[in-house]
Subunit: 279 residues, 2 copies
Amino acid sequence: MMRRVRVGIVAPGSRLEPSTAQRVTALAAERHPEVELTFHPQCHLSSGHFAGADAARIAAFLEIANDASFDAVWFGRGGYGSCRVAEAALPKLKDAARKKTYLGYSDAGVLLAGLYANGFEGVAHGPMPADITRDGGDAAVARALAYLSQRAADALEPSIAPSRKAVAFNMIILSQLIGTPLQPDLTDHVLVLEEVSEYMYRIDRTLFHITSNPAMRRVAGIRLGRCSAIPANEPDFGQTEVEIVEHWCSMSGIPYLGRADIGHDAANKIVPFGAPRFA
Amino acid sequence: MMRRVRVGIVAPGSRLEPSTAQRVTALAAERHPEVELTFHPQCHLSSGHFAGADAARIAAFLEIANDASFDAVWFGRGGYGSCRVAEAALPKLKDAARKKTYLGYSDAGVLLAGLYANGFEGVAHGPMPADITRDGGDAAVARALAYLSQRAADALEPSIAPSRKAVAFNMIILSQLIGTPLQPDLTDHVLVLEEVSEYMYRIDRTLFHITSNPAMRRVAGIRLGRCSAIPANEPDFGQTEVEIVEHWCSMSGIPYLGRADIGHDAANKIVPFGAPRFA
């Protein structure tokens, strides 16, 4: 008999449309019937920018994370708001929370960072339910389900290897964690970075910030995911995102390791934090 | 005989138009003949986003800062680029550089922070030559000249008092210095913050970052300057900038001290770093 995998979905940042949840549930039933998805009603709350007030988002996250009957916490969507949840929620996580997988990216990286900084071993950067609305988004969601249920090796970013620790973040999200208690120790990790909808000069500034932090200079190297939907720089920035990363790697002494197959798109592969556990 | 004050202008970030320099020179001749302005030719160089290549901006900054015949370094304009100058330039500053006044804001805050972190006592946040192009910009430039030449008390932000240390920064600029060697020790300082052209959710995220840094939690309090040209948030953020600052002050235990008269505008008053020296 197939082992059922119970996945609870919460939205620590922006709100998830009920229709999106329905599409993801239908796709899971068809492609991964071994996965049982539970969208917490909090996902569909609305409070200004957020999927419900801070207290509601904190409570929903803790409810799923601390419930031993769930195998994984899947973040429903990015947007913005996880930083309003992290400091209050993380100290309230119990032993049941340590045994789970946590999957998400973008704004949810705030919680991934905080969980990893607190020694959680099941943290991973990868697609979320909201990705189903992207072009080709079914593949992104199916990839996440394959990882959540089977740790499918072909769901992983190709450079991921059992011998080497890695993490992945949106650049500005990582930048805004530096110097806070949410910053994980990334010594000897490959740091995989991606960005979306930021001006080239801001990508440059954010990489200055990341590579100027003494603890960040202890990473094993940086890999660059996709930088997409970059608004036109005025004047033209004159450097590509690769040249920018190469510049800051050179300035900081961090090895530049090449490109990575992650980004704010349907092709976004999974990067488990730490040394990956394969199926 | 009136003492002449020699002010050298460099542009560590974006390029300054020659016509802007001419307008500022004319205004100084009329309103502050005691001030002798020297626009370094580097101000008008162009290299992609920047006023010349990194090496040219570093060299110009060092040339003026290390020249004992100048009383002050005035940053010509913000934009972006000071973070590409700071790490290389700061260790090369000599004794002559320590005796000077440094005035600027926005992107130039990167250098103000690094100078202050290195014990420089003449650092101040206030108008730059490029402000002459703003509506009412003559007043901003005249205020800067009055400060540079006479430490004019009426040029100062009204809450500035000799008994209390202060600093001022653009929020995102300060955020992107946290955890780097450029972050100054702001224990017991009033931290005055302003922002321009950032979405409300980003103002919220940046204040999360600033107030979550343990060293920042030792400030005496936060004062909020103007947050201008805020793009429409989708959905509406539901909180004003004052409510956002109050939220993060409350979360972090930092006292919120009220509004301040600084911002990306012609009314921008001067905030000397540390305890101010009056005329």
